[in-house]
């Protein structure tokens, strides 16, 4: 069932309960989880956080915890399968599902008691109508039962029997037609998988409804949306529409602070709208590395071939950037070159067949040093989550990535140095990005996500028998209400 009033039917129900959060392992889910955690901490709601990365883990974790909890929240998992069938919960368990996977399974939509979907209904869902899919099976049997009881005289009975037979064949034919139509409708509904609005944006809306939205939450919503776009889960149109919505929030937040005559402290976080290049992490690497390692440019130039590499050189010559400058770190490039960089690159990119070199995005900066684009944060968090540490477990990576998202508060100015497997300090995204100062360095062979190879498949496909990546140990975290951010 779709939840219409998020605040009353979802949040206020949970205020005095203990809940269990199942969070899938992608950046959008992470951001939604951060927003929800911040809200829970404000209102002292007890929750347990279980990161899951596949159906098997979800089932195991559910079996472990099902006696202790009545309310379960699933983030970015569970909408596209029949939850009641897979998890077999008790009668009084309630699931709140906030998932971007579409199409939403029809059983989840039409179950009123146990499954509540935190999904906006103005998404293009096109759920088939109830009567087209479900039908009371008992009606037919009752009618045939009643009719055989009546009728006393043999002649009337024979006539009646003939009538009955005619009616029954008619009914059977209607039933077969209905079933064929049902199969068609369900086939059309379920043939394509796609993604809907980012869960982080849904959670941010909830926070906004309760007037508890902070700039932090707005930033997490932005990161969640950018993650969907970076991994090619949504179309360009949808991305632009959602960016428009978030831009309104950003200007509202900025105006709220500009009302005072004095500017904000430098340490406060500021979000601004940018129309920037879509090269991955170009402000932290060198421009050349970034051009070679972004999906978009690597594919357009066909950089795996010699011809492609020559084209790249031509492109750089066309923009007017000397090779020496382009290959050194972006921050040390000549200021005169950096001034009109974006426009120059866009012009040349148009000539080389790349029309969408610039996209609308957001950037955050706080303090004097830290300025990040939303896509930078997405790549950094993805790599933290996926880094195959030998001694860490999947959950540790998840928690580390979760922590790194909150470093943009005051504590972000105190970089936490944690040695990662390659003896390079990594832990916050500042130090993580600094660690990949050159993507070809032998120091960091595994923990960099190659943006050129990111596959857009999610770890919760509809077939429940698919194998999930094997994480080793799994732990759960219990957060008591006494913890403050």
């Amino acid at each position: 069932m779709f939840v219409s009033d998020f605040r009353k039917e979802f949040y206020e129900v949970l205020q005095s309960q203990r809940v269990l959060l199942f969070v899938a392992s992608d950046v959008d889910a992470l951001c939604a989880c951060k927003i929800l955690q911040a809200l829970f901490q404000c209102d002292h709601v007890q929750y347990t956080l279980v990161p899951v990365s596949g159906w098997q883990e979800l089932e195991t974790a559910f079996l472990e915890h099902k006696e202790q909890f009545h309310y379960f929240i699933l983030i970015n998992c569970g909408a596209n399968v029949d939850l009641l069938d897979i998890l077999q919960p008790d009668e009084d368990t309630v699931f709140f599902v906030c998932d971007t996977h579409r199409p939403v399974n029809v059983v989840n939509v039409y179950n009123d008691a146990q499954i509540k979907l935190l999904i906006k209904q103005d998404d293009d869902l096109e759920v088939p109508a109830y009567d087209d899919i479900f039908r009371d099976e008992e009606e037919d049997k009752e009618h045939s039962g009643n009719e055989s009881d009546e009728g006393s005289e043999p002649s009337e009975k024979r006539a009646r029997v003939e009538e009955e037979i005619a009616e029954q064949t008619l009914k059977r034919r209607k039933r077969r037609d209905w079933e064929a139509r049902r199969r068609d409708i369900l086939f059309d509904y379920e043939q394509y998988e796609y993604h809907g609005t980012s869960s982080a944006m849904v959670m941010f809306d909830l926070a906004w409804m309760m007037s508890k939205d902070l700039s932090d939450m707005l930033w997490w919503a932005i990161v969640g949306l950018t993650d969907q776009w970076v991994q090619d889960k949504i179309t360009q149109m949808k991305y632009v529409t959602d960016v428009g919505i978030l831009q309104r929030h950003v200007s509202r937040h900025n105006h709220r602070h500009e009302d005072e005559e004095h500017a904000l402290s430098v340490d406060c976080m500021r979000i601004s709208f940018e129309y920037d290049l879509r090269l991955a992490l170009y402000q932290h690497w060198s421009l050349h590395d970034s051009l070679c390692n972004t999906c978009y440019t690597a594919a357009r130039f066909k950089l795996w071939s010699l011809h492609g590499q020559k084209r790249l050189q031509e492109f750089l010559a066309d923009v007017g950037l000397p090779l020496k400058q382009v290959k050194q770190k972006f921050q040390s490039m000549d200021v005169s070159l950096k001034e009109n960089l974006r426009e120059m690159i866009e012009e040349s990119a148009n000539k080389f067949g790349m029309k969408d070199m610039r996209i609308q995005t957001f950037s955050i900066h706080f303090g004097f040093k830290h300025k990040f684009l939303a896509s930078d944060v997405v790549f950094a968090t993805m790599s933290l989550m996926e880094s195959p540490e030998k001694d860490g477990s999947g959950t540790d990576n998840f928690i580390q990535a979760l922590d790194s998202l909150s470093r943009n508060q005051v504590s972000g100015l105190r970089p936490v140095m944690e040695p990662c497997a390659c003896h390079v300090s990594g832990g916050t995204w500042t130090s993580c990005i600094a660690a990949w100062s050159s993507p070809s360095s032998s120091c960091v062979p595994h923990s960099r996500p190659s943006p050129a190879a990111s596959a857009p498949t999610s770890s919760f496909p509809r077939g429940p028998s698919s194998t999930a990546p094997s994480w080793r140990a799994r732990q759960t975290l219990c957060c008591s209400p006494g913890q403050l951010p």
Partner: protein, 185 residues
């Protein structure tokens, strides 16, 4: 005493907040905290103010003295005088730190205030060092320092007393060695 303990004591200071929730009067051991109504300012201890701010349930108002012009006056006054001048609050350092860390968006010109308070602190600590130095040199038995706050005392107090103890031990050991004779080999 730890600096953390001093900060804990400083959290009892009253500050003004503007809550966004409503609650009846609460009766605590330390005193009563007035009824909370959204939009109306109320005085609460600092620990409660910081907690409510972190839960986004209130807005903090800076204390009266936390203002750029006033602090500039205080700083200039402190620099002119040789002795310590009275501070606007006995716990100015801790208050500033807590308020600026947790609620810098509610305090205008937070950066300048931070710099000014740091200037005042540096001046006072320098005066403390100078006076401790002259105290030791002239081997005074008694010194009187007015208008010091607990945090400043705590910063230099432990070291000063231990150093004076050491020096006392060294001095008292000097006398018998005058009369003792060195051994000839």
């Amino acid at each position: 005493m730890d600096a953390a303990e001093v900060e804990f004591l400083a959290e009892k200071e009253l500050v003004t907040i503007i809550p966004n929730f409503s609650l009846d009067k609460i009766y605590l051991i330390g005193g009563d905290l007035g009824p909370f109504n959204p939009g109306l300012p109320v005085q609460v201890p600092l620990w409660l103010a910081i907690n409510l701010k972190q839960r986004q349930k209130c807005r903090l108002l800076p204390p009266e003295w936390m203002d750029v012009e006033k602090l500039e006056e205080i700083r200039d006054h402190e620099r002119k005088e040789e002795t310590f001048t009275p501070m606007p609050s006995l716990h100015y350092m801790e208050l500033t730190k807590l308020l600026l860390n947790h609620a810098s968006d509610n305090i205008p010109k937070a950066d300048e205030i931070r710099t000014l308070i740091k200037d005042v602190w540096d001046t006072r600590i320098a005066k403390l060092r100078v006076s401790a130095d002259s105290f030791v040199r002239q081997q005074e038995a008694h010194a009187k320092l007015d208008n010091l706050t607990l945090m400043e005392i705590n910063t230099s107090g432990a070291f000063l007393t231990q150093a004076l103890n050491h020096m006392y031990k060294l001095r008292t050991n000097l006398q018998p060695s005058d009369s003792s004779q060195s051994q000839d080999l």
